[in-house]
């Protein structure tokens, strides 16, 4: 038997995009790296890595969370959704994804997975937000192409409101 070393792995069981996963992780593994490196779900991007930019936003039990600021061990037993799990099928986009495409809510696309996940969570909590509420509701997500205007339009349209 080897001696116990600091940071011995811990087994976690999580549901990711509807699939039960069970893995050994180092306690210091951040959730975003577990998703990207261990599960191969690279749709979730790492941007600032300091919980500022929101590129790594996913859902934990339906709520938006920055996965660079959560340990994989904290996700044990939880229900995780990433951008890969949002669309109902391979042939169909989630209404928010569709709205981003329709209203050109992306330029380089790096912030897009996080923006879409944050926007879906926002509408879960406020089904018909005003434009100001959308802007405030997305304060945790940065778009360095500064394409905010069309992102806000896309979210308003996805909530069923008419936009110019």
């Amino acid at each position: 038997m080897r001696p116990t070393m600091r940071g011995d792995t811990v087994e976690i069981s999580v549901t990711v995009n509807g699939t039960a996963e069970s893995n050994d992780v180092e306690p210091r593994t951040l959730l975003v790296y577990y998703l990207r490196d261990q599960l191969g779900l690279t749709g979730t991007n790492v941007g600032c890595d300091t919980s500022s930019c929101g590129a790594c936003t996913i859902h934990v039990n339906g709520e938006s969370v920055k996965s660079c600021t959560m340990l994989a061990v904290q996700a044990d037993g939880e229900d995780i959704t990433t951008i890969e799990g949002l669309a109902p099928s391979d042939d169909e986009l989630h209404p928010m994804q569709d709205s981003f495409r329709e209203h050109h809510g992306l330029q380089c696309g790096y912030c897009t997975p996080g923006m879409v996940m944050a926007a879906v969570s926002l509408l879960e909590e406020n089904a018909s937000p005003t434009e100001a509420e959308v802007r405030e509701g997305l304060e945790g997500n940065l778009c360095r192409c500064t394409g905010y205007h069309n992102i806000v339009k896309a979210v308003l349209a996805a909530s069923g409101q008419s936009v110019d």
């Binding site: 940071g7 920055k66 600021t69 959560m70």
Partner: protein
């Protein structure tokens, strides 16, 4: 950025967490929502060798009506404070200040107890709890003790909690009179460059300051001036008295003193104090 390696222990109850703290002493840190601790661990500003995860201690997430006060479990998330009907009716300053912390993603994970125990002098929630004259409940190996909010913040990122104690509850008086929180910053989701909370409670007006020293502070000179009959504008002139504001990229100490005076006047006026 990856934290330094640590051992991971999960506590199922506050008793278990305190036993683990007793076992590992000052090498251990409690992990609640992790939104203050993990960023510091990623920067290696905090290097605990043991993390005790209390995120699953379910009986510490509640907002209860205690008659003249409201009792809030330490693991209550900011989002729950923000959306609480009880707080909206009987202690609106606390739910409003919670809605100003970070961004929605942060508020989905961060906890009231975690924010207070972290004792960041620039955080929002300590301002509300200080201005309200709240009471914090700490559980240790020999039972629980109450700590007045005004005695809780003892230094830069330091609190009155001992190594084997855990914050379990926060009690705030009901305060449905005038209140206001002025958070001055340059970008969304930033910490306050200076913040001021003002609230009418128990027949007086309390004022607290954020990022005006090594701890969040009560603005004693302002409160004394108001109690002595000064106008809000005159009392606000005393806001920077006795403070030692920090200097950083955003502001010099002199600028922070100016902000404290201006924001205090605005907070008092918006709280209906003239």
């Amino acid at each position: 950025m990856i934290p330094a390696a640590f051992d991971f222990k999960r506590a199922g109850s506050s008793d278990e967490a305190i036993a683990l703290l007793g076992e590992y002493g000052d090498e251990a840190k409690l992990l609640a929502g992790g939104h203050s601790l993990l960023p510091m661990m990623k920067l290696r500003l905090a290097v605990p060798t043991v993390l005790v995860d209390i995120g699953r201690v379910e009986d510490l997430s509640y907002i209860n009506d205690g008659g003249d006060h409201i009792s809030i479990g330490a693991l209550t998330r900011h989002r729950a404070l923000e959306t609480s009907d009880l707080l909206a009716a009987d202690c609106p300053i606390l739910s409003h200040v919670a809605s100003k912390v970070g961004d929605p993603q942060v508020r989905h994970r961060g906890t009231l107890g975690g924010s207070l125990a972290h004792s960041d002098p620039a955080s929002d929630l300590p301002a509300a709890v200080l201005a309200l004259g709240g009471t914090l409940v700490a559980q240790g190996p020999n039972g629980s003790r109450e700590i007045a909010a005004s005695d809780f913040f003892t230094g830069y990122f330091e609190s009155a909690l001992t190594d084997d104690e855990m914050l379990t509850e926060v009690r705030v008086p009901k305060a449905s009179g005038g209140w206001n929180y002025q958070k001055f910053n340059r970008r969304a989701q930033d910490w306050a460059i200076v913040g001021v909370a003002a609230v009418q409670v128990n027949g007086g007006t309390n004022v607290s300051l954020v990022n005006m020293g090594s701890t969040p502070l009560r603005a004693g000179s302002v409160e004394a001036a108001l109690a002595g009959g000064s106008s809000a504008a005159d009392a606000a002139d005393a806001a920077a008295e006795g403070t030692e504001p920090p200097t950083d990229l955003n502001a010099s100490p002199e600028y922070r003193e100016h902000l404290a005076r201006v924001l205090t006047r605005r907070a008092l006026e918006a709280a209906g104090i003239s």
